[in-house]
């Protein structure tokens, strides 16, 4: 029993006790379902009946399915709009709240963060009301300024997807303002002071000092936003069901509808939906690598 007294053994036991529960939960609730999804992706299975192994058929179907390319285009539109707009607004607001001493700073922080504590359904209902074609707030506002105000924002193919962009930005900005504010507060004041002595403008201060020193946080923020935009579909599910004419159908919503029969089709396609899940996984890993390539990964020490 001498080994029981050894520091090495005790350390191993301690680590086991600390790590095992979390690791077990990770295996049970993350790794195992994901491994099952790989298996399901090779099946013709409705989730209830007999599982039929069909090899690569589902993967071949991915490249022939016109709904996939359409949904990915919609994801791409959201990616190239929501992410830069969210990052830009969040950075500007964070800079204002950190470097300007408004009396209402703490109120603004709560205000910006507020959408993060609301439930998805509440947010969807608020924005449905804003965009409503009959009683909507946006149409009401446009009528006040004599700019029409008769448009059915979520019911028109040309505006339904674009209408989702402000919603996403509104939801995400508050969270990233808080993240960027904390990161900005970590930049030593002496850097700004010496730059000020050299005659730097406020804009230069932001672009030459703040942004480069925040690049690591912005990189992480970008990755999180990519994940959210690609995986998110809840607002479309509640507000538009992917319509009209499939104009707001994103890839995750299509996958969800195939798996859980949300298309009023009377059939479920768990196998094919799992294949789409695999494709989303590969896509996200690829986008993460792209982000890593474009952002400097050098850590900053002040």
């Amino acid at each position: 029993m001498h080994f029981l007294k050894s520091a090495r053994f005790q350390k191993a036991i301690f680590l086991f006790i600390v790590v095992a529960p979390a690791f077990a939960a990770y295996v049970l609730f993350t790794l195992y379902p994901n491994a099952l999804s790989i298996f399901y992706s090779f099946l013709d299975w409705d989730g209830i009946g007999v599982k039929t192994f069909i090899g690569w058929d589902n993967y071949i179907r991915l490249f022939q399915d016109p709904f996939i390319s359409r949904a990915l285009q919609h994801n791409l539109i959201l990616l190239v709009t929501v992410i830069p707009i969210t990052l830009a607004i969040s950075l500007v607001l964070a800079d204002l709240l950190v470097n300007r001493t408004f009396g209402e700073n703490s109120f603004y922080k709560v205000l910006y963060f507020f959408p993060n504590v609301l439930s998805l359904v509440v947010i969807a209902l608020i924005w449905s009301f804003i965009y409503d074609g009959t009683f909507g707030l946006l149409n009401g506002l446009l009528q006040v300024f004599g700019l029409g105000g008769e448009h059915n924002w979520l019911g028109s193919k040309s505006t339904a997807l674009l209408s989702m962009i402000p919603l996403y930005v509104w939801c995400y900005v508050g969270f990233y303002v808080v993240i960027f504010m904390n990161a900005m507060q970590g930049i030593p004041k002496s850097l700004y002071e010496s730059a000020t002595l050299d005659g730097i403008t406020h804009m230069q201060r932001f672009t030459k000092i703040t942004l480069p020193l925040l690049s690591g946080v912005i990189r992480v923020g970008t990755i999180f936003l990519i994940l959210s935009v690609i995986k998110g579909f809840e607002y479309m599910l509640i507000m538009t069901k992917g319509g009209p004419g499939g104009s707001t159908e994103v890839i995750s919503l299509y996958m969800f509808n195939l798996a859980f029969g949300g298309l009023n089709l009377g059939q479920h396609f768990y196998g094919y939906a799992s294949t789409i899940g695999m494709m989303i996984f590969v896509l996200l890993v690829g986008l993460k690598l792209v982000v890593d390539k474009f952002f400097a990964k050098d850590s900053v020490e002040y």
Binding site: G133, N152, K241, G243, G261, L263, H268
Partner: protein
């Protein structure tokens, strides 16, 4: 210190092992208990009495407690009628209790439970609209036998003979059995405020397509949207999806029904289907179908009719009950079907179908399934039917329901309006059933093309032909693949 850590670590590991063993043991015990006495069936008394003495008139034992787990759909019919039915049943059979989970999305809960594969956790009785998948997977109990039984208020008469003809078949027959027990069959069509129509002198029962278009024009001239509908859920189908049969009859296409039922020839691009979509597109283009419909759910669209911002809304006969909390006191729902031919004597095909039903999960204890069948049979008593008709707004399924004059008098205005319409017009109740089932994914994809684009066509924003052709290509591919698969078998 080291010693303390060692023994405390060992003690902790020992605790975890014992806890795990305890869980495992508990699970085993539970498993064995359910094997010997499956489900929720347990003896009510310590001693078993003789079966003959302790059985009800239906042959089921009095002394065994049974809990029926019910997945109840919260629909436009409400649940007062169901609670009443449960109360009646439990008064008569006190050994039976009910564990009810009610939700408007109960079908999603059922499919999740089904996918989980835990039969004990599954409902005994539930509503689901994707029941063919469950039948294919041998998960449902046939309910055919219930139609051979006699309700307690009609001894000696088979239920099958008591149901309104057409309401029992052929919709739910599949693979030589009935799997879905009907609770309510809906009538679909156009719903409107009779008072508004009377005030404006509008035609409440157009006999021809031209008369219907004139009605839309008259409504539009008053600055009111003639038709609004729930584009999010494709509610237009309740008014228009049977119109192909009307056009086929007008064209004297006697082969049409057979081609429809067996997927022979073009379906989406059949002359009849294209004609219907062209007319709908024209109606949208002329502003008869409100563009606001596209992003609306059923409640929003029906609210516009209550507020007289729109005149007509396609839906089912549950609408009166569904909107009773919001409807003004003087609002009086009326019904019409949309005629699609110009022959005033030609039949008008009305949309109808199963709007509420129950299925029984096969992998449940036999006694639970027997009680579930008895409960379903009890729902067909006129006592429960009356509650469903008067509180839920459903049409009665029993053909002897109206034999009692007071029951007819107590029907809601909308039910009377539907009955009057059916009496004054030559109508056909059309179920739109297919005789063969397609399972290839391209079939679902072809339906998706239709569902995705329907609202845009109906509001005059997109021409129908391109998407009908896309849907047809997918459909024909599905038909070919399924036929090849069947030949291989």
């Amino acid at each position: 210190m080291n010693k303390k850590i060692t023994w405390s670590s060992l003690a902790l590991i020992l605790c975890m092992v014992l806890f795990a063993a305890g869980c495992s043991n508990a699970a085993n015990t539970k498993g064995s208990a359910s094997n010997t006495n499956p489900g929720s069936t347990t003896p009510a008394t310590g001693e078993q009495s003789s079966e003959e003495a302790d059985n009800y008139e239906n042959g089921l034992p009095r002394n065994e407690k049974v809990t029926l787990k019910v997945g109840l759909l919260e629909s436009g019919y409400g649940r007062e009628w169901f609670d009443y039915a449960v109360q009646l049943f439990t008064e008569k059979y006190p050994n039976v209790t009910f564990d009810i989970t009610a939700s408007p999305k109960i079908g999603d809960l059922v499919s999740t439970k089904a996918a989980a594969g835990n039969d004990e956790d599954m409902f005994d009785l539930f509503y689901s609209d994707t029941w063919t998948e469950y039948v294919n997977a041998n998960k449902l109990e046939p309910v055919t036998g219930i139609f051979e039984m006699s309700p307690y208020d009609a001894p000696g008469q088979k239920l099958n003979d008591l149901i309104v003809p057409g309401f029992n078949d052929p919709e739910k027959y599949y693979k030589d059995n009935a799997w879905v027990f009907p609770i309510a069959n809906y009538i679909g069509g156009m719903f409107f405020d009779q008072k508004l129509f009377d005030e404006n002198g509008w035609n409440k029962s157009p006999k021809t397509y031209d008369e219907f278009i004139q009605l839309c024009e008259a409504i539009k001239s008053k600055g009111i949207d003639p038709i609004v509908y729930a584009g999010l859920y494709n509610y237009a189908q309740f008014a228009f999806d049977t119109k192909i049969f009307e056009i086929a009859e007008e064209n004297e296409n006697n082969q049409f029904r057979n081609d429809f039922e067996y997927f022979n020839g073009p379906q989406n691009t059949s002359p009849e289907n294209i004609e219907v979509y062209k007319r709908l597109y024209d109606m949208g283009k002329k502003g008869y179908i409100s563009k606001k419909s596209v992003g609306m759910n059923h409640t929003q669209s029906q609210m516009l009719v209550l507020q007289h911002k729109a005149a007509m809304v396609p839906s089912g006969d549950w609408i009166e009950n569904e909107m009773k909390e919001s409807a003004p006191d003087d609002f009086q729902w009326g019904y019409m079907a949309v005629p699609f031919t110009n022959n005033p004597d030609g039949p008008i095909y009305m949309n109808n179908g199963l709007s509420y039903s129950f299925e029984i999960w096969a992998a449940k204890p036999e006694l639970n399934k027997k009680w579930a069948k008895q409960f379903l049979l009890s729902l067909m008593s006129n006592e429960v039917q009356q509650e469903l008709v008067e509180k839920g707004g459903a049409l009665p399924l029993r053909k002897d329901y109206l034999d009692v004059p007071t029951r007819a008098d107590n029907m809601k205005p909308l039910q009377k309006s539907i009955a009057t319409y059916m009496k004054e017009n030559q109508v056909v109740l059309e179920l739109k059933n297919r005789k063969i089932e397609l399972t290839h994914p391209d079939y679902a994809a072809s339906l998706k093309v239709i569902v995705d684009n329907m609202a845009l066509v109906l509001t005059g924003q997109e021409q129908p032909e391109p998407f009908l052709q896309d849907a047809e290509k997918l459909l024909q591919n599905a038909i070919t693949n399924d036929k090849e698969a069947q030949n291989k078998e």
